[in-house]
Amino acid sequence: MPLPKPQSNVHVVTLQIDGQDLSAREDETIIEVCREHGIPIPSLCYLDGLSIHGGCRLCLIELEEQNRLLAACSTRVAEGMRILTNTERLQRYRRTIVELLFAERNHVCSVCVSNGHCELQTLAQGCGVNHVHIPYRYQRYQVDSSHEMFRIDHNRCVLCTRCLRVCDEIEGAHTWDLMGRGSDCQVITDLARPWGDSSTCTSCGKCVQVCPTGALVKQGTSAGEMVKDQSFLPILARRRHH
């Protein structure tokens, strides 16, 4: 879903989130309204300034009038919506999603350069994931350290595609893409060439800064030293749209 362009004449709708009466522009998504009002909704693939991917499913919400769950990042608000963001069912689903992410690849926080500054780690703590009840796959993924400044560790990638989107939409290089399906899916640079051999990468580092985990990191960092700064993104995104 592309970023909505700001419109001049939009209607305002009224809705309820967790029993709180709110109003919002009709072109806003549920997650945007939640963030504006400080209502916590977990997410991994959603990032303010990038197009909507809707892949991680962590921002699922419930509507009181229907059983179906909706992704808050890709659902626009509507008049009279009564949204629940933190039911027992949602908490259970979110825990399971996070556990699946941990089970799928090899996220070992204690030795990770992003330890203490990782969105997945924070999410897991927030969702109450203290054990992974799903069998680990222990599949070995490669580390591509061929780039002079950056490194990608596919073991720690959650396939949120933030790197793809920021590279395409903000930097305009489209170095990153996806390859493979299911659990074999992985992000690639150019046509699956080593990152260091990429002819399109501008070495801007935006992909590293938006990566929520320790998958994309700066070279030369040791355990716990990779702190990311995403404050540039909304500013650049606004400038791109104007």
């Binding site: 204690s110 030795v111 350069v113 330890n115 070995r140 490669q142 580390v143 591509d144 350290s145 061929s146 490194r151 560790d153 260091g196 070279q219 030369g220 960092t221 040791s222 355990a223 716990g224 030293e225």
Partner: protein
């Protein structure tokens, strides 16, 4: 009819192991073996990882001495970067390593070995543990717990946490020392020194009781390997390798750690997951050597701090003839001397004017494809050796852990103790405990994160040649 006695698991050590004693028809011990029964695989699964992850990864080898691995690993990484780290960083690393030495030696002496020394080898195993010591000698037990706490608190002050800090990084340390932190560390050290001196005096007074054990607990004619400083003093962080022979003659000196492979070969045996390092010029198994506190004190010309040097002089009198102190029983003594040294050395370093300097890290990228880091862990010389590809990913790892160096000596020591104390016709608890106790002298770190003191079940069996159990002793 030959028989086998199995002691499994060995208690009050770090990790999991088994001892087997082969008895001849006459009941005499024919052979004795120390089996490491757990498998870790660090050298293999580190392959493919970025070298900068190695300090944090390999530190997970151990929950008791993660600082030692952190240090050796970072030294190997420094070698890959081909940098000299800032002098202040080296001093700060040294303080953390000495704090580690204090807490680990305290654990070994007070928590794991003092029950044997204070309560007796034949005491009821139900109370032959740190809790038994607390009941009978509460002040000494409190001292032990406090000393360990001080060591760990210093690690926490420097590294942010007691276990597995990541503050030591390739090129130095990640954060300079603040004055508040320096003051907090300095405030604890006088108390630590008093405890160390008090314990040393207590142990010295007890020593005459253990003449028999001292002569049978691994009194072996072996070589000794350790780091010493460039001037031959006791050293745990930097320096060069020295080897002395069983008569105390220096046979290798000023060997740069990068050349360790000239000195050390590694053999394997099918009965243990632990490697059997040996002194290469003498071959396997003749090249048996020991590392750790005993070796360090035997190899060093002096400690370089006042109280420790007095204690070192007294330590040297343990050997009646000239030459090194040969009994592994005196690892306990050496540990106490090293605790005193470590505290005095920390006090001295923390007083140095540049200790608060903010330049504590050298930045570089991989400039070599092979890096070697050697430091002295509490249990002995620790070696990390890495090879990386052109992108900085690990292609090969060799870790020679302190306990591994002592493997041959531990096996020989068990045999010696078993010869002296094991009566093959009837088993008893005191005999069994002495066989274990000689292993505790070495303070082996096997897993190294698992601990048990007298609570793990222990089974000792006497089997005939057909494997039939003819006697069995169980400790719950």
């Amino acid at each position: 009819m030959s028989r086998t006695i199995t002691i499994e698991p060995v208690t009050r050590i770090e990790g999991h192991a088994r001892i087997s004693l082969q008895l001849a028809d006459t009941g005499e011990v024919e052979d004795a073996r120390f089996h490491l029964t757990q498998f870790r695989g660090f050298e293999k699964f580190c392959e493919g990882r970025p070298y900068r992850e190695m300090p944090a990864l390999t530190a997970r080898t151990c929950g008791i001495c993660p600082v030692s691995h952190l240090l050796a690993s970072n030294k190997a990484c420094d070698d890959l970067l081909a940098v000299s780290i800032p002098p202040t960083a080296e001093k700060l690393r040294r303080v953390m390593n000495l704090a580690q030495l204090v807490q680990s030696h305290a654990l070994s002496f007070f928590h794991l070995s003092s029950p044997d020394l204070l309560l007796g080898w034949d005491a009821d195993p139900k109370s032959r543990n740190i809790f038994g010591v607390m009941q009978q000698q509460p002040e000494l037990a409190k001292d032990g717990i406090r000393l360990r706490q001080i060591g760990q608190t210093i690690i926490e002050i420097l590294g942010g946490k007691k276990i597995h800090p990541t503050w030591v990084v390739p090129g130095g340390v990640s954060e300079a020392l603040s004055q508040d932190k320096r003051d907090a560390m300095q405030a604890m050290l006088p108390e630590a020194l008093e405890i160390a001196k008090r314990t040393y005096a207590t142990f010295k007074a007890l020593l005459p009781k253990f003449k028999d054990e001292a002569s049978h607990f691994g009194t072996l004619p072996t070589l000794f390997l350790s780091l010493v400083s460039e001037t031959g003093q006791l050293e745990h962080c930097t320096g060069v390798l020295r080897v002395k022979d069983a008569k105390g003659r220096i046979i290798e000196d000023k060997v740069p750690p990068r050349d360790y492979r000239r000195l050390i070969g590694e053999a394997v045996e099918d009965f243990s997951y632990m490697k059997f390092p040996y002194y290469k010029p003498m071959g396997y198994p003749r090249g048996i050597y020991r590392v750790g506190p005993l070796a360090r004190l035997n190899n060093a010309d002096s400690c370089g701090t006042p109280y420790a040097d007095v204690a070192l002089a007294e330590f040297r009198t343990l050997q009646e003839e000239s030459g090194p102190v040969a009994s592994s029983f005196h690892y306990h003594y050496a540990r106490l001397v090293e605790i005193i040294y470590a505290i005095e050395r920390m006090q001295r370093i923390l007083k140095e004017p540049d200790i608060l300097d903010t330049r504590v890290r050298a930045h570089a990228r991989g400039n070599r494809q092979e890096g070697i880091g050697v430091s002295e862990a509490p249990r002995g010389t620790l070696m990390h050796h890495y090879k990386i590809d052109e992108n900085g990913l690990i292609t090969w790892v060799d870790l020679i852990i302190a306990t591994g160096h002592n493997n041959l000596a531990m096996n020989r020591s068990i045999k010696q103790v078993a010869d002296a104390y094991v009566d093959g016709t009837q088993l008893n608890e005191g005999m069994l405990n002495r066989v274990e106790a000689v292993i505790r002298c070495y303070d082996p770190c096997l897993s190294c994160a698992s601990h048990a003191y007298g609570k793990m079940p222990l089974v000792i069996e006497l089997q005939d040649a057909q494997g039939e159990v003819i006697d069995r002793l169980v400790r719950d």
